[in-house]
Subunit: 177 residues, 2 copies
DNA sequence: TTTACTGTACCGGCTGGACGGTCTTGTCAA
DNA sequence: TTGACAAGACCGTCCAGCCGGTACAGTAAA
């Protein structure tokens, strides 16, 4: 069967994220991913010659998706600050009950260095936000609070209720000005 | 009643945390822990009949340590709010360059449910803080910002500089009132 | 006091199974 | 023909859990 002329890479990346989310980050094996993607192990290894490359692909696609989404938000609302766009984007991301990035735990278990690009990205984003305001203290509070929100979502923590999250977001937007 | 040579349980727990931190969360194997603790594998399995029990032990000791530290801070400074104590405690925890809880990633990989007690603890702490203030918005911002700080430390993110962290903490204390 | 028994605390080798990565051979569409 | 996989066998490694020992402290009868 040679049906899927479609891009296998993306299917595989999506499958990997699905497996990590549903079967747990510890169950992210090449076979599981291949099976989930409707691809043979050989086919997977053709696209990603090693597991490390797969993880790297996950990180890269995550980052590029995020950047695209942020840019869209920032320009869409025109004159609102990037910080506001970041807050809203993160709020929407965290609305989804299921964490979409459990694969990150697999990546860390494989090698903590896989997070390096993510750290760099965050620092870069922070620098960009710094250029937007002169109230560094407020920015730090907002930036870290968003980080906390994303972290809770990642850990699948239902610590906050829907209402609390909404109040949090509106408070952040107020601080952000 | 025979007393264990030295409290093996605690030695093992400390060794497990060390291994996860130094060799990476993916390298937390029973043998590595046993060797690090100066205990044979059999001895480890005697104290923790299964890897899951070891993880559970890590979570429990982490939580009880944290609770003790928080209580100490809260009473030590007498009349200051629990939120302030929580902020300061977290700031000090995050001052240490190396994350002390990398084992959490191993636990998640093993089974995400290991985090359930931690979630419950956090919710409980949040409820307690809620009783202390009537400005829920500010509390949420502080609580989540602390969460973000702890998360960054856990991920070993050197995204913030020393000065930025200090400014963050003082901003949080100001918001906390 | 000696001997025999019991439970505790720990040792360390073993194994069955899973997993990652490689390789070979085949297939089908462009 | 060639590029993009399919299908899966194979191998080396690793690891959790199990099991048979060992050392020793306490107990208690003889």
């Amino acid at each position: 069967m040679k049906v899927p002329r479609a891009n296998s890479r993306e299917k595989i990346l999506a499958a990997a994220a699905d497996v990590a989310r549903e079967a747990g980050p510890g169950s992210l094996s090449l076979e599981a991913v291949a099976s989930r993607a409707g691809v043979s192990k050989g086919g997977l290894l053709y696209n990603f010659p090693t597991k490390a490359k797969l993880m790297q692909g996950l990180v890269e696609s995550y980052l590029s998706d995020f950047q695209k989404a942020l840019e869209a938000r920032a320009t869409e609302a025109g004159h609102e600050s990037v910080l506001s766009a970041y807050i809203k984007l993160s709020a929407d991301d965290c609305e989804r009950p299921k964490p979409s990035a459990s694969w990150m735990f697999s990546a860390i278990a494989e090698d903590p260095d896989f997070l390096t690009p993510i750290k760099a990205f965050k620092r870069q984003l922070f620098e960009r936000l710094k250029g937007e305001t002169d109230d560094l203290g407020s920015l730090l509070v907002c930036f870290l609070a968003i980080e906390g929100m994303r972290s809770m979502n990642l850990f699948d923590s239902d610590v906050l209720s829907e209402d609390e999250r909404k109040l949090l977001v509106s408070s952040l937007l107020k601080i952000a000005g």
